[in-house]
């Protein structure tokens, strides 16, 4: 994403090569163009650009992709720490 990058080396995105059937759904749904399919297999082009939205893992028919999706807002994470539960926030923008 031009002009924007967040912290490196934190994304939880993983792709299990053996399970990938190269269907291309991940390439279709990723809003940051992280995947590319070539020769029947998907590849991660830029893991650090991942925002962990979970679209790829959700739409992978063979569960080849794993990522820990969540809410990326500080208030939600703080609520989660304080209440000891999953981060949550009401957002509507």
């Amino acid at each position: 994403m031009d002009g924007f990058r967040y912290l490196d080396g934190v994304a939880t995105l993983r792709l299990a090569d053996a399970a990938c059937i190269g269907c291309g759904r991940c390439e279709e749904v990723c809003p940051h163009g992280i995947f590319a399919v070539a020769e029947g297999k998907a590849r991660i082009l830029d893991r650090d650009a991942c925002m962990e939205c979970g679209a790829c893992a959700m739409n992978c028919p063979t569960k080849a992709i794993s990522v820990t999706p969540g809410v990326g807002c500080a208030a939600a994470i703080m609520n989660g720490w304080l209440s000891g539960s999953k981060p949550s926030c009401g957002c509507g923008g």
Binding site: L7, V29, C53, A55, T68, G70, G72, A74
Partner: protein, 372 residues
């Protein structure tokens, strides 16, 4: 095949075939966007127009300032745009009125069906993250609207940003409709349809232009009003502490300066930082926010240098930087490129620094009163 429309009924799905009478659809004309109805084999479907009227604009403005956003909803279900027939595309969207308005306005001149999911008035992306724009809701609405009787094809066009909540292969398995992910932005729907339902790489990427960042800032401000109000009360009380134990005059005079600094810090974090986001150095939002805060604070201190003692000036610099840094960190939730893992890592590092700066600012502020 007409698809697996007869999936085993569960508490969450509604069987759409195999008996039962046609649904009694009541067209609600009090909804200002409904101006007629279209007859279908599954009963009448309300028809929406594509005009954006002054009340829609007022509603949009109120939502941007956080007024009644949870109530800004459209009744879920199937709607007709233009004069769609059995071959017309089906666009799936959220029942957040702002989103619905965009879809019907960009669809001016199109003949299409709009299937509105119940996302409790939340936009597509957030709702997908929360799971309300989700696989089960799609399946349920397709069945409830008897979509398999309304259209002859078996295809749904979902917004790409709904993908975190919807498993396309599960939808197909459960109701026979295949999912095509449309463009990220509703304004590309027309080009997407004209290109035979293919999205160009540019249509598939999220971008975050200045205007998009700017429209998100009012809600950042209104969101910080309540904690800021309490902080202001605390600052007025703190400002009165001095050699004479407590002075109402000092509370007013010094309190006013402190609250102005708080307001400036919030402004730096909630407006200046989001707008200047791509140009502020650093990756962490707390760093970007801290920088806008310290620059703004330095200007304020220089401007007021005649009336400020060194400890008070230092306190203002530290406090405004900390407030701006903290508020800017919260903007991570509104951006389309920060990851939860990253935000958590940033917070673990930034919070102790912000807290330390605030405590130090408080000590300097109160201590300064005794040195005067």
């Amino acid at each position: 095949m007409n698809g697996g429309c007869c999936a085993p009924p569960t508490s969450k799905t509604v069987p759409c075939c195999g008996g039962g009478s046609l649904p009694m659809t009541v067209i609600r004309y009090e909804d200002s966007y409904v101006d007629g109805q279209v007859e279908t084999p599954a009963g009448p479907v309300p028809r929406v127009h594509s005009r954006i009227e002054s009340r829609d604009l007022l509603g949009r403005w109120k939502v941007r300032w956080g007024i009644g956003r949870d109530r800004y909803r459209v009744r879920p279900g199937l709607y007709a745009l233009g004069a769609p027939d059995g071959n017309a595309p089906v666009l799936v969207t959220a029942n957040y009125k702002l989103t619905f308005d965009i879809v019907r306005s960009v669809g001016a001149g199109l003949d299409a069906w709009i299937l509105v999911l119940d996302t409790r008035g939340i936009n597509v992306w957030c709702a997908a993250g929360e799971g309300t724009f989700g696989t089960e809701e799609v399946i349920r609405r397709v069945a409830e609207a008897r979509l398999s009787q309304v259209v002859v094809h078996r295809r749904l066009i979902l917004p790409q940003l709904g993908a975190p909540g919807v498993a396309a292969h599960e939808v197909r398995k459960a109701c026979g409709f295949s999912v095509v992910y449309g463009p990220v932005r509703a304004r590309d729907i027309r080009s997407f349809l004209e290109a035979g339902m293919t999205a160009s790489p540019a249509m598939r990427r999220v971008v975050f232009p200045t205007m998009d960042r700017l429209v998100l800032t009012p809600v950042e401000i209104t969101g910080s009003l309540r904690p800021a109000g309490w902080a202001a009360v605390g600052l007025f009380l703190l400002a009165g502490v001095g050699p004479g134990v407590f002075s109402l005059g000092a509370a007013w005079e010094r309190g006013f300066t402190a609250v102005a600094a708080l307001a400036a810090g919030i402004l730096a974090g909630a407006v200046v930082t989001p707008v200047l986001l791509p140009w502020l150095p650093g990756r962490a939002f707390s760093v970007k926010g801290g920088l806008s805060g310290v620059v703004l604070a330095a200007c304020a201190v220089l401007w007021q240098r005649g009336s400020l003692h060194t400890p008070a000036a230092l306190a203002l610099l530290l406090a405004m930087t900390a407030v701006s840094s903290f508020v800017a960190m919260n903007f991570t939730g509104a951006t389309p490129f920060t990851s939860p893992s990253g935000v958590e890592k940033e917070m673990r590092r930034a919070l102790p620094v912000q807290a330390g700066m605030t405590v130090l600012a408080g000590l300097l502020w109160v201590g300064g009163a005794f040195l005067r």
